[in-house]
């Protein structure tokens, strides 16, 4: 078999498993008698193990140049006379690194969840959502154009929100899931915008030819595309001022928090920037924006993280800080460093989040060995005047008042206007029906 065919086969093999597993579990959920837990576990374990192995083979093959970087055409999705959309995947080191991480960590989480969610009512539902997430990340990792990335992006966003609200009988997770989804949808505007605009300027622009095709576009258009992409990437990366959803997103089961917000979902943001780096490279302004946002986010998350009282929120802000630093690295042009940072940070944060429930006993063990209280403040804060320390602390505790500012300046005015228009519409209708106006009570979401 030709090496070319072998690499394609390995890639298809790695993707086919999760898709088949998803179909089986989805059908299983529709049956009167659900698939037993151990069968679901076996299915997922074998699927992820096989996919991880296939990906590792591809990684090794690429590294030793046994295989070559190539694009594979999946097929023509839409073919009209004056518009076509071909689905292509690209097999390069960046994408395969993300894909391998995806399968490896999903497999780990799948194994961890066997005992963590044992006899939970939503056991099968968890694995279904995990597979949807896995496929979404795979689409983002392998996409050779923004269309496929958009598809994966939406699947990841939806599965994230549904997993945050996994314990749906508690109000906290449900409210936070909705809030997270709101942030995702807000920033997805940018991604959708950039997909269309890019296609409008150059129909043949894909990631494998981005470096050459981008130079044919004017600077203004590059600025528009780049800005839209940065907005699109801000949501998932919890970049300032959209950091608030990340600690709230930790409401879901620990395994999903580990993989979504510690590892893969948040890292989709710097991955997107890595993919479109040729666009950023052409504009100093865009790179400055990336660096500026990254630095501001890192500063914000560092301060706020230090005032958190629960370990998962602390980890969330630490994740946000590291994602922000990846943004800074990408903005400065250190793309290989960002990729290495990305891979190692994903693994570390997954481990940390999975260990989070045990952190208290870990801390107790350290204190017993040390024989003293652990001082986390650090000497650098003691040099600041006390009033400044209090101010910084208050600001950090209130998360820099971002929620209040968003509510006061954006949400409340828009909501008031919409309620006013709604009242006019309802009263007009009731006038003709000859009845009293209906109540229009609403509550904040």
């Amino acid at each position: 078999m030709a090496l070319d065919d072998l690499s394609t086969l390995l890639l298809l093999f790695s993707l086919a498993g999760p898709i088949l597993a998803l179909i089986i579990i989805a059908i299983g959920l529709a049956l009167p008698k659900p698939i037993p837990e151990h069968r679901v576990n076996q299915l997922c374990t074998w699927t992820f193990a096989a996919s991880t192995l296939a990906c590792l083979t591809l990684d090794f093959g690429l590294l030793v140049q046994f295989f070559v970087v190539k694009t594979i055409s999946v097929g023509s999705f839409i073919a009209l006379r004056s518009y076509y959309l071909n689905l292509e995947v690209i097999m390069d080191l960046q994408g395969l690194a993300f894909l391998t991480l995806d399968f490896m960590l999903c497999g780990l989480i799948g194994a961890f969840s066997t005992t963590y969610l044992h006899r939970d009512e939503g056991y099968n539902r968890f694995y279904l959502l995990l597979l949807i997430f896995n496929i979404g990340i795979a689409a983002i990792a392998l996409a050779n154009g923004l269309d496929l990335i958009l598809a994966g992006w939406e699947l990841v966003g939806l599965s994230s929100a549904l997993l945050i609200a996994f314990f749906h009988q508690r109000m906290g997770p449900v409210g936070n899931g909705l809030r997270t989804y709101a942030v995702y949808r807000l920033t997805d505007v940018g991604l959708l915008f950039s997909v269309v605009i890019m296609h409008h300027f150059r129909e043949d622009m894909t990631f494998d030819n981005l470096s050459t095709t981008i130079s044919t576009i004017s600077d203004n258009h590059i600025l528009i595309i780049g800005s839209a992409l940065i907005i699109g990437a801000m949501g998932k990366g919890a970049i300032f001022p959209l950091t608030g959803w990340l600690p709230r997103g930790m409401e879901g089961p620990t395994p999903s928090s580990a993989i979504f917000y510690g590892a893969l979902s948040t890292h989709a943001s710097p991955f997107l920037l890595l993919r479109v780096y040729p666009i950023l490279e052409h504009s100093l302004l865009l790179r400055s924006i990336v660096i500026g946002l990254g630095a501001l986010t890192a500063l914000h998350s560092t301060f706020v993280g230090r005032t958190q009282t629960d370990v998962k929120s602390d980890i969330a802000y630490s994740t946000s800080t590291q994602i922000a630093l990846m943004w800074v690295e990408i903005g400065l042009g250190f793309t290989n460093l960002a990729l290495l940072h990305f891979v190692s940070h994903s693994i570390l944060r997954t481990w940390q989040t999975l260990r989070a429930p045990s952190v208290l006993s870990d801390r107790r063990a350290v204190m017993q060995r040390k024989g003293d209280v652990i001082d986390l403040t650090g000497p650098q804060y003691k040099i600041l005047p006390e009033c400044l320390r209090h101010t910084l602390y208050t600001w950090a505790l209130e998360r820099w008042y971002l929620d209040d500012i968003a509510g006061t300046l954006v949400i409340r005015p828009i909501r008031s206007l919409l309620l006013f228009i709604n009242k006019i519409d309802q009263d007009f209708g009731e006038y003709f029906n000859g009845n009293e106006s209906l109540e229009t009570e609403t509550r904040n979401d």
């Binding site: 999705f77 839409i78 073919a79 009209l80 006379r81 004056s82 518009y83 076509y84 959309l85 269309d147 958009l150 598809a151 994966g152 939406e154 699947l155 939806l158 929100a161 609200a165 749906h168 009988q169 508690r170 109000m171 449900v174 899931g177 909705l178 989804y181 709101a182 949808r185 807000l186 997805d188 505007v189 959708l192 915008f193 997909v195 269309v196 605009i197 296609h199 409008h200 528009i224 828009i414 909501r415 919409l418 309620l419 228009i421 709604n422 519409d425 309802q426 007009f428 209708g429 003709f432 029906n433 000859g434 009845n435 209906l438 109540e439 229009t440 009570e441 609403t442 509550r443 979401d445």
Partner: protein, 453 residues
């Protein structure tokens, strides 16, 4: 080879006849009559679609100066409409299952088929007037009937004036292609546009639409408010008028429609009534369809046509699920969480998938249609593009918000037997099958296959 156009005409005549039969039977008999009628409609539409795929040529037929045609547009939408009617028949809860209801459903099937195969103004306007008649009939006994009668009666009046002006100008009996070559008088275009705007519930003519959705008896209202036929006239008659003004959609048309769409999407977020929120969601989606159907750019126009079929299917499915929730739990509001997922997981899942398909979730035909739509004239204008993307985003969020409010939250006890029944599952499965088939392989749709390279 059997002429698919004749098969389709026979199917629509049968729909009308079976509508009369359904009206005369008992509730159970009329449901079965409707199932048979909808199945015949699906068979006829399916045959038409397959015939068109095998030989993608426009087919025409004329009878006593009445003209009919089958093209890629009708070949794609006819099966979608029949499937939607079939699903509505199966999904109708028992408490709303009356002979009158099923009779109206079959009547609407015939009318929509008539509108889609119409090749001249007379047949098209006639179909529109019939659909308005059916819509008014569905409001019988409802609190909002007076409002609906005023609006829909006004729409019928405007359409009749437009037809009269068209008849006086001699364009009423011309084929639609010939219609496009004639300069249409303003006194024809203006009342026609106004009539269609009311029919489609475009702001500020939407009060009847959303008030109807607020009623608990959503099942009866579904038929009247889902604008099966209003868009056909836009695509066949108004689009050539807009095309004669230039190669891209004038901002004076696209911007107001898109602003209305965004406003409706925003209004859907602040509703406390589930039905009313659903109504505004549908209106927002309809605005996106409308802006595509009036796009002179061929890609945008195909996108609009495709999106019409997609939105038709997904909004039918979503309205069905909202109706199912309302039928089980009257007085449900979105101001609190209701925790129904534990008792009705299938209903919840179907609600979420159907609703998200309106917002274009990947894997559904709406995703493909939005992609095509956005690459028409809309994609060329940054402002329009921003409005469309924001509307789509808000729609998606609102669906998830409604899902969370209705199905998530504290449920102190598990209710027995409130999940979807077998016939409802079949209805849901039929709609979802169409949504996912079109989403995974959109190139199989006659609309795209007929426009291919």
């Amino acid at each position: 080879m059997i002429n698919p156009l004749l098969i389709m005409l026979a199917s629509l005549v049968l729909s009308y006849l079976m509508s009369i039969v359904a009206y005369c039977g008992s509730a159970e008999e009329s449901r079965w009559t409707a199932i048979v009628g909808a199945s015949i409609g699906m068979a006829g539409a399916g045959f038409t679609a397959v015939s068109f795929l095998s030989a993608p040529e426009v087919q025409t037929w004329e009878f006593l100066s009445l003209r009919f045609l089958i093209d890629s547009f009708s070949a794609t939408l006819l099966p979608a409409i029949s499937v939607c009617i079939f699903a509505l028949v199966l999904n109708t809860p028992n408490r709303y299952a009356t002979p009158r209801h099923f009779s109206i459903l079959l009547f609407m099937q015939g009318t929509c088929q008539l509108a889609l195969v119409a090749n001249n103004l007379t047949v098209l306007i006639f179909a529109e007037l019939l659909s308005l008649l059916a819509a008014i009939a569905t409001f019988k006994g409802l609190r909002t009937r007076k409002l609906a009668q005023i609006y829909l009666g006004g729409a019928a009046l405007f359409l009749a004036v437009a037809w009269l002006r068209g008849a006086l100008s001699g364009v009423a009996t011309l084929g639609l292609e010939a219609l496009a070559e004639n300069k249409l008088p303003a006194l024809f275009v203006l009342p026609l546009s106004l009539g269609l705007a009311i029919r489609m519930g475009l702001l500020p003519f939407s009060s009847w639409f959303t008030a109807a959705y607020e009623e608990q008896n959503l099942s009866a209202v579904l038929v009247g408010t889902l604008p099966f036929s209003g868009f056909v006239t836009c695509a066949r008659v108004l689009e050539p008028v807009v095309s004669s003004w230039g190669e891209t959609e004038p901002l004076i048309i696209s911007v107001p429609i898109l602003l209305i769409g965004l406003l409706c999407a925003g209004l859907s977020l602040v509703q406390s009534s589930l039905g009313r929120s659903c109504g505004f969601t549908l209106l927002a989606a309809n605005c996106l369809v409308l802006v595509g159907l009036l796009d002179p750019n061929p890609v945008g126009f195909v996108g609009g046509e495709l999106m019409w079929g997609a939105v038709l299917t997904s909004t039918t499915g979503f309205s069905m699920m909202v109706n199912s929730v309302q039928a089980r739990f009257s007085g449900l509001t979105l101001t609190s969480f209701h925790g129904l997922y534990q008792s009705a997981p299938f209903l919840g899942t179907a609600f979420l998938i159907m609703g998200l398909s309106i917002a274009g979730i990947p894997g559904t035909v709406d995703f493909a249609s939005e992609d095509v739509l956005l690459h028409g004239s809309i994609g060329a204008n940054v402002g329009n593009l921003a409005l469309v993307t924001m509307t789509i985003s808000v729609l998606g969020f609102n669906v998830v918000r409604m899902f969370f409010r209705v199905f998530y939250g504290v449920s102190t006890f598990k209710r027995i037997g409130i999940d979807l029944k077998i016939r409802e599952l079949v209805a849901v499965g039929t709609i979802m099958g169409l949504l996912f088939l079109g989403g995974i392989a959109p190139s199989l749709l006659p609309l795209i296959a007929g426009q291919g390279h």
